[in-house]
């Protein structure tokens, strides 16, 4: 797996590269600002780009803008965005064009190396990785939604993990239940929320996120 890292903080950039190389991954380039990042993507054609949200010059959303631009130039590029804090608007603008090969994680998740690597691989292989914090905020905000209240607690757990981008097997493992049980929960959730059932993980994430976003929008 060929990786390009865009992170303006030198220490963190080198730390990430050190970590990934130690795991046997191929970090082909690192960049400290959006322009250098886009150049590196054009030149190296990586599989995955890991991008920090805040980058020079204004340290606001340059990373998101650069990631969207890189995706426009190379539609197959998988992008994992790292953020110091959850910014709903950034996550939404990133997911506006579909959730395949996209990830949005809080920076500190990198410290949980196993989970981070799982998420990284999932994104590289065409899946989605949404930070649990983002999902939690969406769930909290759309609480007034009547249909969400019809879910059982266990179904809510499954919904959250689906929104994070986990596949059926991963959800079953996380909740320590059988694949069959997860299937049953998911069918029930889709029925209660009036969503069209699908087995493709990325479409499922998009549907769930869209639903949760809509819930948030309806409320406000």
């Amino acid at each position: 797996m060929r990786i390009v890292i865009a992170e303006d903080d030198a220490l963190l950039r080198e730390g990430l590269a050190l970590l990934l190389r130690a795991e046997g991954l191929d970090v082909v380039a690192t960049a400290g600002d959006p322009d250098a990042f886009l150049e590196a993507v054009d030149a190296q054609r990586p599989d995955v780009a890991i991008v920090d949200v805040r980058m020079p010059p204004t340290h606001t959303d340059e990373g998101i803008v650069a990631a969207v631009e890189a995706r426009r130039r190379h539609p197959d590029l998988a992008v994992l965005v790292l953020s110091a804090y959850v910014e709903q608007a950034f996550a939404t603008s990133l997911l506006a064009r579909g959730s395949a090969r996209l990830g949005y994680l809080l920076k500190e998740r990198v410290g949980r190396v196993e989970e981070f690597l799982v998420a990284l691989h999932r994104v590289a292989e065409g899946g989605t990785a949404i930070d649990p914090e983002v999902v939690a905020q969406l769930l909290t905000r759309s609480r007034p939604d009547e249909r969400l209240r019809r879910l059982t607690p266990r179904e809510r757990d499954v919904l959250a993990l689906m929104a994070e981008g986990l596949g059926n097997a991963a959800i079953a493992e996380r909740l320590v239940v059988s694949d069959g049980a997860v299937h049953k929960h998911i069918r029930s959730i889709f029925a209660k929320l009036d969503l069209a059932p699908t087995d493709r993980t990325d479409r499922r994430v998009a549907a769930v996120l869209h639903y949760l976003e809509g819930g948030a929008a309806r409320r406000s």
């Binding site: 220490l11 963190l12 730390g15 970590l19 110091a84 920076k107 990198v110 410290g111 949980r112 190396v113």
Partner: protein
């Protein structure tokens, strides 16, 4: 038999209502109604209470007359200065003197406002003097102040003298029999030299004179003090309506600037916490994660990752310290402003001399602002000026803290937002200085001709 009960002020409950003769002296003890003083049937306790209340009132009045005498003398001086200015105007050089004369008038008037506000309703001052001479001369508040200077300089001073003389006369006459025979005949006169005393009957005749003085003091002194304060209360209060509206608008603006400066400050703190400290801590978790994974494979790799993690943690601490120091420097909290500035100068890469002579301490927010101004100014000096040395002067003039930062660099510093700030002039730093200064009702002036030297002058009200 006792008539009625007594409230703590010594007034009898059934005494007639106090005549509305003294509306301007609410803090002074209520005057004792005539019925309480003259009634033989009032209890001894009430009599002594009313006597002591009267004595306190008279003493307060005396104090007011004396302090009014002080401002009266100052007003007289300001009046003379105005007269000199007016004469100089005839010869043509008066316009040069006029600003100083108007400032002198304003200073004396402010002193009188503060004096009156201490013992009566607060007398609110007008906005600062208009900057243009024409505007200043036609300003209504200024004209009223000039009128007050004339009235108070003459009448206030005279009443002050009277107020001082009355007790002296009373003391002189009441004690006269004790010492008249010891002094030369020419000095043995009743107060004010009305007649010369040659024998004992004459000396005893002076006593009733003393009693007379005492009665005048007891009855007249408060009225005297009120009369002395009257022109100030009339002429120095703001004109109806418009003046206060302006003042409110000005205070609203400075308050908004203060909040704005506050928000900028919060943003700055948020930014440095986010981009500095938080990133370091994330790096620490990443490196510790890497070390854990490495431990399983090769402990030597783990040591390298842990080394880096420790570096990152130490950097996080250093940055946290810098952030905290930017909020309120501990050295400022623990020691004095000069000490804090000396520490700043020691950190400055350009040799910097601190010349601070500030007796006492100012309000904490003012000291923090002064510290911020000097820190920001020295950062500019170090980054942009190319100076070889800088001098920071701190003085306290009356109730203002005056800061001067001078360097021998190449000059040309401009505030950002002005037309075409020359490259690398540290404009945003200067804007920050101006904002924080004006938020404290302070002033900032920058002189930085191309080629240098650069002088930054900031004054702040001390607030203490």
């Amino acid at each position: 038999m006792q008539r009625g009960t007594h409230d703590p002020s010594g007034r009898t409950a059934d005494a007639p209502a106090r005549p509305a003769s003294a509306p301007t002296t609410p803090p002074a003890p209520a005057p004792v109604p005539a019925s309480a003083r003259s009634s033989g049937s009032a209890s001894p306790a009430s009599a002594s209470a009313s006597v002591s209340a009267r004595a306190r009132l008279v003493l307060d009045s005396l104090e007011h007359l004396v302090s009014g005498f002080g401002t009266g003398i100052l007003a007289l001086v300001a009046l003379l200065w105005l007269a000199v200015t007016a004469l100089a105007c005839l010869v043509g050089v008066g316009l040069l003197l006029l600003p100083s004369a108007l400032h002198a008038v304003r200073a004396v008037a402010d002193r009188e406002r503060a004096r009156l506000s201490r013992w009566g309703p607060e007398v609110i001052g007008p906005p600062p003097l208009p900057s243009g001479l024409r505007a200043a001369v036609t300003d209504r508040a200024v004209r009223r102040e000039v009128a007050w200077v004339a009235v108070h300089g003459v009448l206030g001073t005279f009443l002050g003298v009277v107020g001082l003389t009355l007790p002296l006369n009373a003391a002189h006459d009441l004690s006269f029999p004790l010492w008249w025979s010891l002094v030369p005949e020419s000095a043995a006169t009743a107060a004010a030299g009305w007649w010369t005393v040659r024998d004992w009957p004459g000396a005893l005749l002076v006593l009733p004179m003393g009693a007379g003085w005492l009665a005048v003091i007891l009855l007249g002194m408060p009225a005297l003090a009120r009369l002395q304060a009257w022109p100030g209360r009339r002429l120095l209060r703001p004109g109806a309506g418009t003046d206060l509206v302006l003042r409110v608008a000005e205070l609203t603006a400075t308050r908004a600037a203060a909040l704005d400066a506050h928000a900028t400050e919060l943003r700055r703190i948020e930014r440095s916490l986010h981009d500095g400290t938080q990133n370091r801590l994330v790096a620490v978790t990443v490196l510790i994660g890497a070390a854990r994974r490495a431990l399983a494979r090769d402990p030597a790799d783990a040591v390298a990752a842990l080394d880096r993690a420790q570096d990152a943690a130490e950097q996080a601490l250093a940055e946290l310290r810098a952030v905290v120091r930017g909020i309120l420097p501990p050295v400022l909290a623990d020691r004095s402003l000069p000490d804090a500035l000396t520490a700043l100068a020691a950190d400055c890469p350009v040799p910097c001399e601190i010349d601070a002579d500030v007796p006492g301490r100012c309000a904490a927010s003012v000291e923090a602002t002064a510290y911020f101004v000097v820190a920001e100014a020295l950062t500019n000096v170090a980054r942009h000026s190319g100076a070889r040395r800088a001098v920071v002067t701190v003085r306290r003039r009356d109730d203002r803290l005056c800061l001067t930062v001078r360097d021998d660099g190449r000059g040309g510093a401009r505030e950002a937002g002005g037309s075409g700030g020359s490259g690398g002039s540290g404009g945003s730093g200067l804007t920050g200085i101006r904002r924080r200064t004006e938020a404290h009702d302070g002033t900032m002036e920058l002189a930085s001709p191309t080629g240098g030297p650069t002088t930054l002058e900031v004054t702040l009200p001390c607030g203490s």
